[in-house]
């Protein structure tokens, strides 16, 4: 017989773990973006939907620095096609998540 209460609790704790992991990742990405941002105020008001170049006004030469920092920190490689598809903070989070699993 399944113990549904136990399973529910297990699922809930997994969800919490994932949420914590995502929150930490988001925090780390915001720190990297802040390091290379010309206008720190824009980062403070940024959301996951913010476009990294258009909304956060981060210089394209610094985007390469950001990608290198991300690759080093999470021990992943972002290829040219993947880089083309990173427009928002959410895109960045998704690619890190998919590669660091």
């Amino acid at each position: 017989m399944y113990d549904f209460k136990k399973i529910s609790l297990k699922l809930l704790s997994l969800q919490l773990l994932n949420k914590n992991k995502m929150d930490n990742l988001k925090q780390e990405i915001f720190e990297i973006l802040t390091k290379y941002s010309f206008n720190k105020e824009l980062i403070k008001s940024a959301t996951e939907e913010s476009n990294i170049t258009k909304d956060l006004k981060i210089n394209s030469a610094r985007i390469v620095d950001i990608v290198l920092d991300v690759e080093e920190k999470y021990d992943i490689e972002i290829n040219d096609e993947e880089l083309e598809n990173i427009q928002t903070i959410k895109d960045m989070l998704n690619i890190i998540n998919s590669k660091s699993k």
Binding site: Y36, N51, I52, T53, K54, N59, S60, A61, R62, I63, V64, D65, V67, L68, D80, E81, L83, E84, N85, I86, Q87
Partner: protein
């Protein structure tokens, strides 16, 4: 349709100096043949390649490309070296001509166009970040700066006078202490 793109890079900007002397950084934005080309040559070549790629990307955005700048997807072939360095920049099936100038170790500026025949019609200016871009553009296109505005549509700059679109293709760039723009009157 003819479009222009331009890009400037401040050679004395500390962030650029740090990045452009880092081999990991160079490997991330230059293609294998570009890296090979740069070997044993003047340190300025990677900067030239960068501004060519970025200028070409700005043209592609105007042509409707909806992707982020991925510099290694652009292949730059340098063709001639006079006062202006001429290159061909390729991205997938698209190619454009790029013209780069180096100024007294202060900056490198590149203008690109998808129509080589209009090169002489492109007007441009490079100025200090403390100066007003509006005044500079107004002077070049011979219009009063009072009602001239630079707006952006999908991240692409457009010029308006008294809130009406005026027939100029414009490209704007900023890096470190410098601003640059290029304009082309559209027929």
């Amino acid at each position: 349709m003819t479009y222009i793109g331009n890009d400037i890079i401040d050679l004395n900007c500390p962030e650029n100096r740090k990045s452009f002397h880092n081999s990991r950084y160079l490997n991330k934005f230059l293609t294998a043949s570009e890296i090979n080309y740069c070997k044993g040559k003047n340190y300025l070549y990677p900067y030239i390649f960068w501004t060519c790629k970025e200028s070409c990307y700005k043209i592609l955005l105007k042509k409707g490309l909806n992707k982020s700048f991925s510099p290694r997807k652009f292949q730059v072939n340098l063709l001639s070296f006079d006062q202006t360095i001429t290159s061909i920049v390729k991205y997938e099936n698209f190619s454009c001509a790029a013209y780069s100038t180096i100024s007294n170790s202060h900056f490198i500026h590149t203008i690109a166009t998808n129509n080589k025949s209009i090169k002489s019609l492109i007007q441009f200016s490079i100025f200090n970040i403390n100066e007003s871009p509006i005044d500079q553009i107004a002077e070049i296109i011979n219009i009063s700066p009072n009602f001239l505005t630079i707006n952006k549509k999908n991240g692409i700059p457009i010029l308006k006078y008294k809130n009406m679109l005026i027939p100029y293709d414009i490209s704007i760039s900023h890096d470190g202490d410098f601003y640059s723009f290029a304009v082309l009157k559209q027929e």
